[in-house]
């Protein structure tokens, strides 16, 4: 189903939960609503579902405005954060509920339930009650229940929040696969960026009720449109006085400009490891942490503290070592503008051809 939202606003008392949100979603896409808790993601989802009424703005499904349609008639599947399974019904009864409400004939209900039980791998658990299931199984039941009436849009509110970290990974890829197979337009809310990046076709970053940016995970990583997005995605350090770093002197042209540097923008090593020493800064290793697959190195350059990774294959650094630091690029921003700046000294003034 094609979903379009225009000028959406919602206030709870004096708290502006959602502010001028606009977007459109193409049929069959899987969209992640990503942002900090309390930022308005769930409110947007609930307005799409019809569980909250927007103060202003239009919600359009398939070119038809649905603002006045009650949730019962929107044809949406909704998976709640804590699943909201009916405690007093078995798995099969939970899944059949929506079909019985819609007065499907008994035989068809049975058939559809069997189909969904098969699809979600819940065979053998049909007559169990929710409290007899594991977290992952409950999530599957919630999913099957939402899908049973064949909705055209599936909304998921923090679908993995209540699940152990270990099973969460499995479930994520399972969900991705399932949605691909069914081709159903889906929107899910999460505050976990790894989850959004891993699962979603497109991410919408929501902060303080506003839509900060919408795009594929790669676009958002590569080209963040606002300082919030840049800081929210990936790890980063904010450098107040970015112009003092070698290669970024030009930043001084715009007073008040700060820089945001990701660990992966930085390279460190002994002098011998660099071919372009003129672009590097001298620094001192402060701490190193073993991260399982790499070293996380904290390094001080002048008064600036930076964080970066270092491959396990390279020579091991120790706290106190003098190192060279190459900052490839920084994301600069001030009150009016934001842009990505490459290290100006990296472009070798006298290229040497070997």
């Amino acid at each position: 189903m094609h979903v379009e939202v225009r000028g959406l606003n919602k206030k709870f008392g004096t708290f502006q939960a959602v502010k001028d949100v606009e977007f459109s979603i193409a049929k069959g896409q899987l969209i992640g609503l990503l942002g900090p808790s309390g930022g308005g993601k769930t409110s947007i989802l609930r307005m799409l579902a019809g569980l909250e009424t927007p103060d202003e703005g239009d919600i359009v499904f398939h070119g038809q405005r649905v603002n006045d349609l009650p949730p019962q008639e929107r044809g949406i599947g909704f998976v709640f954060q804590n699943y909201a399974l009916f405690k007093h019904m078995t798995v099969a009864e939970n899944i059949a509920f929506g079909l019985e409400v819609k007065k499907w004939p008994k035989a068809k209900v049975k058939e559809r339930v069997a189909e969904l039980v098969e699809l979600t791998g819940l065979k053998g658990f049909e007559s169990r009650y929710p409290h007899q299931l594991s977290g992952g199984q409950r999530q599957r039941v919630a999913f099957a229940r939402a899908l049973a009436p064949e909705p055209q849009l599936l909304l998921l509110d923090e679908p993995f929040a209540a699940i152990d970290a270990k099973i969460r990974h499995e479930l994520r890829s399972w969900l991705r696969e399932m949605i691909d197979r069914l081709g159903i337009t889906s929107i899910f809310v999460t505050h976990d960026q790894d989850e959004a990046i891993e699962v979603a076709d497109e991410i919408m970053i929501i902060n303080q009720g506003r839509l900060e940016q919408k795009g594929s995970p790669w676009e958002i990583y590569k080209d963040p449109q606002t300082p919030f997005v840049a800081g929210f995605i990936g790890e980063s350090t904010i450098v107040e006085d970015i112009a003092s770093l070698r290669g970024f002197a030009d930043a001084a042209i715009w007073p008040g400009t700060k820089g945001l540097i990701r660990p992966e923008y930085i390279e460190i090593g002994k002098e011998s490891e660099f071919s372009l020493l003129s672009a590097t800064e001298a620094g001192k290793v402060k701490h190193i942490h073993f991260r399982g697959s790499e070293w996380l190195v904290e390094v001080a350059v002048g008064g600036i503290k930076l964080v970066t990774y270092r491959s396990l294959e390279k020579e091991v650094l120790h706290p106190g070592d003098a190192v060279q630091v190459l900052v490839h690029r920084a994301y600069l921003f001030n009150d009016n503008d934001s842009w990505v700046m490459e290290n100006k000294l990296k472009e070798d003034p006298m290229p040497v051809h070997i």
């Binding site: 007093h88 229940r145 009436p149």
Partner: protein, 266 residues
């Protein structure tokens, strides 16, 4: 050693305060043997009084169960009521607990007595409120109103609205949602509240005494009959009716325990 002492002390307190008095009533009812008890219970005035108590209990329980559940739903779920208003109403619900039954009765007399505008109006239409059954029902409704609400509201708050919202999303309207999703969760709390209401109806004394005028064969209930018998030093007869009431209460208490255990399971 301390343990023995405390347990012993508690058992003694319970025995003195609760168990012995209960036995004393039973014994008192049979002071003049089985026939004395039977006579006390089957006097025409006793039968009439028990009938009145029964009618009041049935009417009040049905009305308050219905309105109590509805009000609980609104106070917990309704979005059309402001939060502040809901909180205010929530505290008003408790007020009958704090009102002396006599005062509760007085309120009804003041509001609908024959001297008031409302009472006169209804009187002219041939409906007596005070010193008649309707007033007694209203007084009991007032006194028992919080019982169901207080049982149901915490459960509704605890189960949250998500299951209901899930039902809405699957196409179920309010009626279906209530019966298929909400009711199974609150059922035992409602039963518990209803049992409390019945117990209170059977035992209500002060409010009914004030409103009814305690007219023999007309507005006398079981408890006001006990009162009158005691005032007339007719203790054996009083004991018979009191024993019947106490037996009813103990039965309800057992039922209450059972309902409570069910409530905890679900």
């Amino acid at each position: 050693m301390m343990r023995r002492l405390w347990i012993g002390l508690t058992v003694v307190v319970f025995g003195l305060l609760l168990i012995i008095p209960l036995f004393r009533i039973a014994q008192g009812a049979f002071d003049s043997g089985w026939s004395g008890f039977w006579h006390g219970l089957t006097r025409p005035e006793a039968l009439h009084a028990l009938l009145m108590t029964g009618i009041i209990a049935v009417v009040v329980t049905i009305v308050n169960a219905f309105f109590g559940v509805m009000l609980s739903l609104y106070l917990v779920r309704a979005t059309w009521l402001g939060r502040k208003l809901k909180r205010l109403m929530n505290s008003i619900v408790d007020l009958p607990f704090a009102v002396s039954p006599v005062i509760g009765g007085l309120m009804i007399v003041l509001l609908m007595g024959p001297d008031t505008a409302l009472g006169a109006l209804l009187g002219r239409a041939g409906i007596d409120i005070v010193y008649a059954l309707p007033g007694m029902v209203v007084a009991t409704l007032f006194v028992t109103f919080p019982l169901v609400v207080r049982e149901v509201i915490p459960v509704l708050q605890e189960i949250g609205s998500q299951q209901e919202e899930a039902a809405h999303m699957m196409g179920a309207y309010a009626w279906t949602t209530f019966w298929r999703v909400t009711w199974p969760s609150i059922r035992w709390s409602v039963v518990y509240g209803v049992v409390l209401t019945v117990a209170r109806c059977l035992g209500e004394f002060g409010a009914v005494l004030v409103v009814s005028g305690n007219i023999l064969f007309k507005t006398q209930t079981a408890t006001t009959l006990v009162y009158q018998d005691v005032e007339n030093f007719n203790l054996t007869a009083a004991n018979a009716v009191a024993l019947a009431l106490a037996a009813g209460s103990v039965l309800l208490l057992l039922f209450m325990e059972w309902a409570k255990s069910r409530k905890e399971v679900h």
